[in-house]
Each structure stands twice: as structure tokens, then as C-alpha cells.
Symmetry: none
Subunit: 555 residues, 2 copies
């Protein structure tokens, strides 16, 4: 008889601990958008912030009350009351009540050293601060999560005292005891041993006697990645009985970050047989990871487990055919389960089967036996030897493939260009002036245009667009969205070869093209021209497809 999988309660702290990462600064709107996405993902607890710590956090709780989430509980976070007064008399706790959440997370000290050195109070007063703060919130009808700060270091320094703080939390009415590895340096085997001890405590008669909540307290885990083992630490704790995991999307957090929920959740659900969210919610994980990285304005990590662009990328020539035939031999889980995709990468280790797989993804028919196929592989190796790289420039590779097959549309050709830069010292700073002229041919007609910009490449881009816009008005919607430069053999100094990657967009699609030259302007020019050409091709093919389908409907 199959039993239902046990639930692990996921507690997201992207909005609080995650936003401590250097470089993240969330607006109120950002926080609301992230909360809604977490809610859609089925995450049951979302830590919203510390009401009272700053005006933005207060507003956030108001906003969420006006347009409530569908299933998630928003949790207000705060510390235990200050020493030497009652919780009721500590004004710091009032905004927490005003936030109007059902759940409150209170953090307190577990490490004796921090009590005496940082709080500058007695060990007994700290215990009373924990118990009193929790009781206060319970009396106000709140449900309470207790975060034991510096738990693992505290336990190692003074196990009896550390356990006494948890007993105070149980006595105060905590439903969850969350063990925090605040400094992030604990390793999985230590987590395992220490969680075992806590499990013995929560199952003990002593705990039952102290308990004031309806149910016995359960264990939660909150880890940081300073030893590179945050995810493994969380799994270790779950395997010893923890039933809540705190973490952040994409592992954002102070220093080296928090446990990455985008790794924790699939590990728990796809490998260890627990339930975190519904399978169809887990299948939005990759999209959610990317969306949230957009909102916080950090480039997504292409190499992130499960959700990264490269997480299911296959490169070696040998095994591409094998992976298509029998994915489990080369993939630890199905990319669909986390909403990711298998990707075949083009590189100089590529074989024929990579080229065929790519052709299929471009919608190009190509047979293994065709001489074009072998010719393409040869071209690819020659170009990569010259410094081209198509892994990240699939649009250029598609153009190359279509050219080999005589399927590359010709929209324009460039007869030549000039670029002119001038710098002269102004009163204070240097001013820059770049101009470009370009001559192109479209349908036998020569067009000469000039443009200017704050650098030679943008001047060239402007001139090209001006020359093309009358004949191809769709070019108005194209944008250069990213520009990368890499010097390939830096040791040749300024005569080194340069590889330029340009990302373009037409508002709903993005594509990347590549150029290589010893002249950085020449390399940029190639990539910019191919970017325009690829965009025109997309438009052209969309138009053709529309015509074909309307013909079909007519007949």
C-alpha cells in the first residue's frame, strides 16, 4: 500500500534574508511581484520583512492585506524583546502586530557568547526574553515560528544552554523551532548529529510538559552557503526529522547566500519522495527562478542546478544521439519536471549528431548522409579555430547553416563603412565624438547613410538602421539588448583578436550573434549586421507562415 508522501513546509525568505545580498535593492512593487510569484509556486510561508525596520516593509504588509495571496501565509519577522522590560512594554513589537499576519517569526540568541557580548544581558534574561516574546504574540492570537540564531555554533559552544533556549521557545508556544546556521560554516554530518539531539528534545516528556501550543513543536532548518553545503545541510536536517526548510529563490542572501530553494525543492520532491508543492507548480520552477532574477535585476546563473540554462545542456559529440534515445542515461531528472529544457550545445567537440539535433531545433531538414552536413562540421571547426564561438550565438550558427543549404535570405549587403572618433580635452573631462558612414545595397539600389553615437559601434549601428529603415520598417522594433567583448589572445596586446557577442530583441524574441576580428570595430560590425539580418529573417518567415496558413484556410 502506497502512503502519501510526507510534506516538507517550504519557508521562503527571499524578501528578507535574500534581499541582504549586496546589489539587491527591492522596491515595494518588486516585493509584491515576488510574493505573488512565490504564492503561485505554492510556497506555503513567505517571510515579508521586519515591520517597523523601514517604511517599505510596513507598506508591504498593508499592500498584501489589501490584495491577499491565494494560499501562502505572509510572515512578519522580528527579534525577541529587548532586555529589562516586558514584551508588552517593548514598542518594537507593536508594528509586528499592526502588520496583521497570522504568523510571526521571532529570532533569538542560542549562543551564550552572543547573549553576553552582543545583547549584553544575562543568560537567564535571554531565556525569559524568548519565552515572554513568544507568549506575548500567542496571547495576541498569533501563531509563532521561533528562529534559533547561531544555533549550530551555539550548540557546539554550550549544548546545555542552547537546548535551554529551545525549551524557552517551547514554553512560549512556538509551533516551529528553526535551527539557523547563521554563520554558514556547518557541514552536513554535524547538522545531522545536532538535529538528532533536537529531535530527542522535542519528543521528550520534558518538552510535552513545557508545551503551551496545541501541538508539539516541529523542527525547521535555515542554512547559509559559506562552506558550499547549504543545500546538503538542509537535506541532512530533513532526513533527521526537520519538516520546514527556510531558503531563498536562487540562493540569494548575505555573503555566500542562503540555501537555494530552486535546488532544495526538486531534491526533496523528485529524489527523496517528500512533497513540497504540486508537481505542476514544481514545473514552473525554472520560469520562477528567471522571473525573480529579472525582478531583482541580477543576471541569472546559467549553471544553477535544475533551473540554469545550462543545467541540461549536452556538449560532447559522442553522447548526443544517446541522450535523445534514452535520456535517463545522461540526465539525473527530467528537465520537464522543473520546467527546464534539454539543450544541445554547438562547439568544436561537436559531432554530426549535434549538428543534426541543432538543425531540427531550427526547423531545418538535414540528413546525416548529406555532404552539406560534413561540410558544416568542417566549417564549424575552422571558424572555432579562428576564434568564433557559437555556443552562445545560435542565431549566427543558424545563418551559417542556412547559408550552407542555400536557404539564407539576402536582405541587404554592405559595401563598406567608415568610422571616425575624436577625443579632445574639455575644461574638466574628455569629450567623445563618434561618427560612422555606411554604404549598403538593397535590391540593386545603393544607400549611403551617416550616424553618430557615444562610441564607434553605436554610431555604426545608428547609421545601419537609418539606411535600412525605409525598406524594412520593422527594424524600428529591433534593439541591441546586450553586448559582450572578449579578447581571445590577450597576450598579443592591442593586436589581439576580439570576439564580440551581440544580443538583439524585437520585443518578444531574443537572439545572439557573434563577430571576430583583430579590429574590435570589425568584430562588432559583423555581429551587429548578423543581428539585423537574423531579425529580418524572423519577420520574413513569420510573414510567410501567416500567408501559407491563410492560403490553407482559403482553400
Amino acid at each position: 500500500m502506497a502512503t502519501a508522501p510526507e510534506t516538507i513546509w517550504i519557508y521562503d525568505t527571499t524578501l528578507r534574508d535574500g534581499s541582504q545580498r549586496e546589489g539587491i535593492s527591492l522596491s515595494l512593487e518588486d516585493k509584491v511581484r515576488i510574493a505573488r510569484q512565490l504564492d503561485r509556486m505554492g510556497i506555503p510561508f513567505i517571510e515579508g520583512g521586519w515591520p517597523g525596520a523601514n517604511p517599505k516593509d510596513v507598506q508591504f504588509f498593508w499592500q498584501i492585506r489589501e490584495e491577499p495571496l491565494t494560499q501562502a501565509e505572509i510572515v512578519a519577522f522580528c527579534s525577541t524583546r529587548r532586555p529589562g522590560r516586558t514584551a508588552e512594554a517593548d514598542p518594537m513589537l507593536q508594528p509586528i502586530l499592526s502588520a496583521g499576519t497570522r504568523w510571526v517569526a521571532v529570532f533569538g540568541k542560542s549562543w551564550d557568547l552572543h547573549v553576553t557580548d552582543s545583547l549584553k544581558t544575562s543568560l537567564d534574561e535571554n531565556l525569559e526574553m524568548i519565552r515572554d516574546t513568544l507568549s506575548f504574540f500567542r496571547a495576541q492570537g498569533r501563531r509563532v515560528i521561533y528562529d534559533a540564531e547561531h544555533w549550530f555554533d551555539g550548540y557546539k559552544a554550550n549544548p546545555d544552554y542552547a537546548l535551554a533556549t529551545l525549551k524557552a521557545a517551547i514554553a512560549g508556544g512556538a509551533e516551529w523551532l528553526v535551527l539557523c546556521d547563521t554563520n554558514g560554516g556547518t557541514l552536513p554530518h554535524d547538522v545531522q548529529k545536532i538535529v538528532q539531539t533536537v529531535r530527542q528534545l522535542v519528543q521528550s516528556d520534558e518538552a510535552r510538559d513545557l508545551q503551551t501550543a496545541e501541538k508539539p513543536a516541529q523542527i525547521g532548518i535555515h542554512t547559509h552557503n559559506d562552506a558550499g553545503t547549504a543545500v546538503a545541510n538542509a537535506l541532512s536536517a530533513v532526513m533527521e526529522g526537520a519538516r520546514m526548510v527556510q531558503g531563498t529563490i536562487n540562493g540569494y542572501g548575505e555573503r555566500c547566500g542562503n540555501a537555494n530553494l530552486c535546488s532544495v525543492m526538486p531534491n526533496l520532491q523528485l529524489k527523496l519522495g517528500y512533497r513540497c508543492v504540486e508537481p505542476e507548480q514544481l514545473a514552473t520552477l525554472s520560469e520562477s527562478s528567471r522571473l525573480i532574477s529579472e525582478i531583482v535585476n541580477l543576471a541569472p546563473d546559467d549553471h544553477a542546478p535544475y533551473v540554469g540554462l545550462s543545467a541540461f545542456a549536452h556538449k560532447g559529440g559522442i553522447h548526443v544521439s544517446a541522450v535523445e534515445k534514452n535520456p535517463i542515461t545522461y540526465e539525473h531528472v527530467s528537465p520537464d519536471a522543473v520546467g527546464n529544457h534539454r539543450r544541445i550545445v554547438i562547439s568544436d567537440q561537436a559531432g554530426i549528431s549535434n549538428i543534426l539535433a541543432k538543425a531540427r531545433s531550427f526547423g531545418i531538414e538535414l540528413s546525416k548522409e548529406s555532404p552539406t552536413c560534413r561540410q558544416l562540421l568542417q566549417n564549424l571547426k575552422t571558424l572555432e579555430n579562428e576564434g568564433y564561438q557559437f555556443e552562445a550565438a545560435e542565431a549566427s550558427f543558424e545563418l551559417l547553416m542556412r547559408e550552407a543549404l542555400g536557404q539564407r535570405d539576402s536582405f541587404f549587403s554592405v559595401k563598406g563603412f567608415h568610422v571616425y572618433c575624436q577625443m579632445h580635452p574639455d575644461a574638466e573631462t574628455w569629450s567623445t565624438d563618434s561618427q560612422a558612414t555606411v554604404k549598403i545595397t538593397v535590391d540593386g539600389q545603393d544607400i549611403l547613410e551617416a550616424g553618430e553615437g557615444n562610441g564607434p559601434v553605436s554610431a555604426l549601428d545608428v547609421a545601419l538602421r537609418k539606411a535600412l529603415r525605409t525598406i524594412y520598417p520593422e527594424i524600428a522594433s529591433f534593439q541591441l539588448t546586450d553586448y559582450k567583448v572578449r579578447i581571445i589572445d590577450g597576450k598579443s596586446g592591442t593586436s589581439a583578436k576580439t570576439r564580440v557577442l551581440v544580443e538583439s530583441s524585437n520585443g518578444h524574441q531574443r537572439w545572439t550573434t557573434v563577430g571576430v576580428s583583430t579590429n574590435i570595430i570589425g568584430a562588432s560590425y559583423q555581429a551587429v549586421v548578423e543581428g539585423l539580418e537574423y531579425g529580418l529573417m524572423l519577420k520574413h518567415r513569420a510573414k510567410l507562415a501567416l500567408e501559407t496558413s491563410s492560403v490553407a484556410t482559403d482553400s
Copy 2:
């Protein structure tokens, strides 16, 4: 009585498995530079590549034989022989011998499914391929490491067969049995259980009977990060008896990367009491991590455990003084142990001490109380905000500091320059033409010169040297030795800001300067001009020092 810590043999595969990461493309020179750095770090095994797989790998082994490393063993990597012939008759194995290494790493199949589906041979023939290939290398005087590909998945699918492949490797003379989690999806508790079984095998009578090497085979571990637990998996294996860990610097590798040696090594050495390298070598870890990220031209991960810029970052405010008083309360290890630094975010105090330390290293006297010191800090922050970075451009920082102190020598000033590029289609390729004119003033005298090169920056560099060489003949010995470009805010497309780093040399000293501009030519110009200026300053100071000492001798 204290016992000496047990050694864990670190096996670096940055040059082979690491270079499989999308976006990494190593030149021969890159590979040699990385190998030398790994050697300096005290890493005992460096996998150099698969000789014969491509011309670059063959050249690499030649190059290393000509200028041998000081302590590391370079290992040649290859697969077992092909089915249906003897190892001696398989020409694929010849280049491995020609590579001339003492050690060879041979990988073979552990998973029955891969044998039948991918190798398309019988299970028995695969066992013979393993034994025969290893015996062949042993007979040729090589020492052999056996990499058991897909070990963990293979063991789960068919434990008896998987163990039989290891027995074949023992019979073939393997000194190391490296268990590879090729698909990267295994979790630490499974690694632990499965390594236990292998330990039982290597300690068994059966293994002793099969053994043809001098010593019983030892266990190694090779993990990938597809579940986000590569580091924890490696630690798990070591705690069950593995004595070799394979991984890469910065965790580079296919898909989600390999076990990050920059996390594995400090975890083993600082937390688990093993020995990997000398403590003073471990203290170069952060520098090595950054240097290698520069060589492969990937931005370093600021949030990487141990070695990231943010790994020991503390927010300003309450705990800054606490952390300085008693670091262990907020830091899991001492940053010095891995060559990293504590960083206080938004704190003038830390900034000032940085500046003082830098001044000392430049031989500049600067007092903490001087207003210049505070002014410099302010300048530094403004410039870093604009995109400058002085960590890798100390020469520019020294010029900045000397300027603030009125100690910057003036050798020349630039009144302006023009750069002109033209591209026109030739019969086959595009030809490039770049010319520059520059006007400078030296001692009140204007000099106008022109230069040409195969790109705008080299044209500018040529023109500047021509203008300066009559007055400063020493400029003939200066060379641009490296040139790096990074786009700072790529999302602005070609209007993005560009940071250029230029490394210059006078034959016995090297220095790096930086320039930032939205115009790549402007940024390059700044860095090139400061590079020349710094070189002239070095020469000038050397001359002064010589005069002073000869005056001293005269008196």
C-alpha cells in the same frame, strides 16, 4: 599525542572537465598559465587533457615537458580501448604514451546500460577493455588512475556488474579507483552508502588476490553539481575513506559544474582536519581563484564560499566592532587562512585602513589623519561607482594616489586625438585599415604624429609611441602585454560602459592600468596613456635612486 593529519590527494581537472563549461575556450597559453598556478598552489595531480583529441592538447603536453612543473604530476586522460581489438593494436592509445606523463587516467564504463547501448559491446568485453587498457599502460611503465564513469547510477542499476568493473581495474593495475557521479544527481547520503561498499571491496581478500599494482587501490571521488551538492558529496566520500578528490577551480565544468576545489580544500583542511596542501599554499586560494577566472575570462563569483569578494563581508553598524573584537562569533573560518579579506561594507574605517595598507605597499608615506587620505577614499568610491576597478590595476591606483599627494610626475600631456577606421570588402575577406593621429605636449613643445595598426587601439598606441620616442627613448622597451575588455552594464547594448585593462611591460617589470568610458576607444586610450606614464615614472625613479646612491658613494 597528536598524529599527523591524513593526506587527501587533490586532482584538478580544470583543464579538461572544467573547460567543458559553456563559454570557456582555452588557448595553449591559457592552459600553461593555469597549470603553473595549480602547481604553485601545491595541487599534486593536474589533468592536462586528452592527447590526440585535438592538436592543442598534444601541444600542451609538449610544452609542459619542455618547462616542467615544480611538484605537480601532469596526467594524460583517455578512454579504455575500443571493443574488438587489443589495447596494443588501438592507435587511439598511442598519443597518450607520446604525451610522456608518468600518470595516465583511463575512464571506463560502470553502467551496464551504457556498455550495451553506447559502446554497443558485451558486458564481458567491457571488463576486458578495462583490464587490458590498464595492463597496457602499466606494461609501458605508467601509473594508472581508473575513472569509473557513471559509477553511482551504474551501481544503483546493477551493483554486481558495477563492482565487477572495479575488479577489472584492480586486476589491470589501477592505483586509484575514482568513483564518478557523471550525471551529477547523487545526494550525499547515497554517496556515503555506496562508497562504504567500495571500501569493503578494496579491503577484501578478493581485491588482494586480483591486485597487480604494488599497493592496494585507493578510492577517489569525482562529483558534479547537478543537485547542488557536489562539494558535500565529495566530503561524504572522504569521510567514508576516499583519499583523492577530483574537482575544478571555481567549480567550472559542464552543465552545473564540477566539485569546486575552492570549497572542497578549505572544508577538508580547515574543518575536517585533513591535509591537502601546505597552509601557506591554502592562503593563496582566493588569489588563485581570481587569477584563473581572469585567465578564462569569466567574471569571478563574488558570492563564492571562502574565495568570493563577499564571502567575509560584514554590514556596517552593530556588529562591525564585535567582529573585529571577536571574529569567530561572526566568521566560520579566518579569511586569512584562504587568502581572503574581511570586508566591512559601507564603512569609511575599513576603507582608510585599506588605503594606508596600499600606500605602504607603494612606498608612499601617508598618515591616517591626513585630509588627503579621506579625500582619496572619496575619489576611490566615486570612481568605483563609475565602473573603475583598481584591484587588478594597481598602477592606475598608484598614479591616483601620487596625484592626490602632488607627487605625480608629468611627462607629457595629450591635447587630442583622432582615430579613423575603414572597412571595405575585398575579393574574399574584409580588410581593415585603422589610422590615428595624436597631438601631445612635452615641455611646452607640441608634437603631432600619426600611426596605423590593425585596429583603432593599436593605431593609437603606435602614434603615441612615435610622438614620445625622441624625448623618452626608453619607451622602445615598453610593450603592451595584455589587453582585456569588460562591458560593465551589458544591458545598455552598444551604449554600455566599457572597462579596459592594459598590462604593460618594460622587459623586467609588469604593471596594469585601467580606463572606463562609454566609448571603447576612449577607455583604451586612458589605459594605454597611463601605462606609458607609469613606465616612464618607473624609469625616472630608478634613475633618481641611482643618482642618489652614486652621490652617497661620492661623498
